[in-house]
Symmetry: C2
Subunit: 261 residues, 2 copies
DNA sequence: TAAAGTCGGTTCATTATTTGAACCTACGGT
DNA sequence: ACCGTAGGTTCAAATAATGAACCGACTTTA
């Protein structure tokens, strides 16, 4: 792992639940020498990617990420483009829908909507990375995102989040093959208890998927009929997102997706 | 300059006007060896900070910046906090108002508003970094942002953008001292022709400024009376932004700002 | 109140990573 | 068939990253 990667990975420890992180906590999280972490933090700070609270000395994300996000969204308004599709799909299904993109071994949420009539809802955080092997999004990505991603994933041992998570490389490979055949991925409580999710890949120009569109719902609301309905709509969502990104659905998926208009 | 900084600086070449950049263009812009740039780009890509167009092979900003911006704004909603103040001030003055934060030798726009009745308006891009010595924001920051910033700036030669830009270290130091005394900074066509701007520092906890609030308008609309009105309101804006960020205006500014409520 | 622990930050010799000239391959134009 | 330019790769040489030990300030504990 290069120096740049080590430094950038530090930024991923920030989340809704960890808005500020001190030096020692960074050291513990990243399992690196304190001096190394400190120097990396200094360079990140010099470039505005983090800033330090003058009193508590804790670090938080800096203004640079806001500016770069503005540039990205102004020049390549992917979030805005998918938002209407995701909103509409969430409204139709009455469940949580999200589009996520592959990013350095995880799925990175791009946009989500949860326009729904039910009392219970699935917790979802747009700022939190999703693991590949434990989520339907990740599994769909592994199936259609090119071989490099799968090989990358299997280098390290896989975490069992719930007791239901698929963790053995053999099972992963087998399931990924199944996803390739059926054109969608399912995850039953692979990441969070009581949560069931389904995902299909989305594409821009090029044969490999860049991300996924997924639906997540409480296990209790799942019936055969609901699953069928969601899957059909999800495939259509996959088509729509792919189109709005200027891509085309690969021929190998046409068979599996023929039930969607 | 460390490896991390070199890599992060590459991201700053992206802007509204340069949404995609190829390897050779990066090499030219950064004046580094092609192999070095390439490896840096690879690491940035592996971490989702940039992505590569599969066809044109050009690079663009990646999904990671969006995610991190979401985390930052969810945990530390500075943009949202200042937006109401900036909107209101822009409405009152009928001119462009922006809040910008210091970031690695430049001012990084955080939020801007241009609610105004006039036909001509000042061009402003929230995704573009502002130079320190040529803008009122930068000069206000130099005056109140701590000594490190000024020393940092004077290490490299300063660009003359319009023929009116202050570029000599002696003049900069002299003007910065004046800004400290009067509590605000002016820039007459220092960055863009025909544009006049005024800025005051804003603070969070701590004695040094973290950014500025500024007004920019066409030179043609500037009168003594307008300038007076804007300055008074701007100081009030500086107070308001400082308050909403949980900071306090330093005592050394109280004298210069006493005309604002 | 003295000792022990924790925190952010610093130092310097050792080590490993970054670096860049040269090279390779593919493509579009002439 | 040639040239120029593009993205990408290689390997020895050089530079930058590393981490154990250290420092001073502040808290906790006995």
């Amino acid at each position: 792992m290069g120096t740049i990667t080590k430094a950038l990975k530090l930024l991923n420890y920030f989340s809704i639940h960890r808005a500020e992180i001190g030096l020692s906590e960074f050291k513990a999280l990243s399992v690196q020498d304190k001096a190394t972490v400190y120097r990396h933090l200094c360079e990140l700070q010099e470039n505005g990617f983090i800033e330090q609270d003058p009193i508590s000395k804790n670090y938080r994300l800096g203004p640079a990420v806001l500016r770069l996000a503005t540039v990205r969204e102004q020049t390549f308004p992917m979030r805005e483009a998918v938002s209407t599709i995701v909103d509409e799909l969430s409204r139709q299904l009455g469940e949580l829908v999200h589009v996520s993109l592959y990013e350095g071994g995880y799925m990175s949420p791009l946009y989500h909507a949860d326009i729904q009539p039910h009392g219970t809802r699935v917790y979802f955080d747009e700022g939190e990375l999703l693991p590949m092997h434990a989520t339907s999004s990740g599994l769909a990505m592994l199936a259609f995102g090119g071989d490099g991603i799968l090989n990358q994933l299997l280098k390290a041992p896989l975490v069992d989040f719930t007791g239901h998570t698929i963790t053995s490389p053999k099972d992963i490979k087998q399931y990924v093959q199944r996803v390739r055949d059926q054109g969608y991925a399912l995850s039953e409580e692979g990441f969070e208890k009581e949560v069931f999710s389904m995902a299909v890949p989305v594409f821009n120009q090029g044969e490999v998927s860049i991300g996924t569109i997924a639906v997540a719902l409480p296990h209790s609301r799942l019936t055969k009929a609901v699953q069928e309905k969601i899957l059909t709509q999800l495939k259509q969502g996959g088509r729509d997102v792919t189109n709005v990104l200027g891509g085309t659905v690969p021929e190998k998926l046409e068979g599996a997706w023929e039930d969607a208009v």
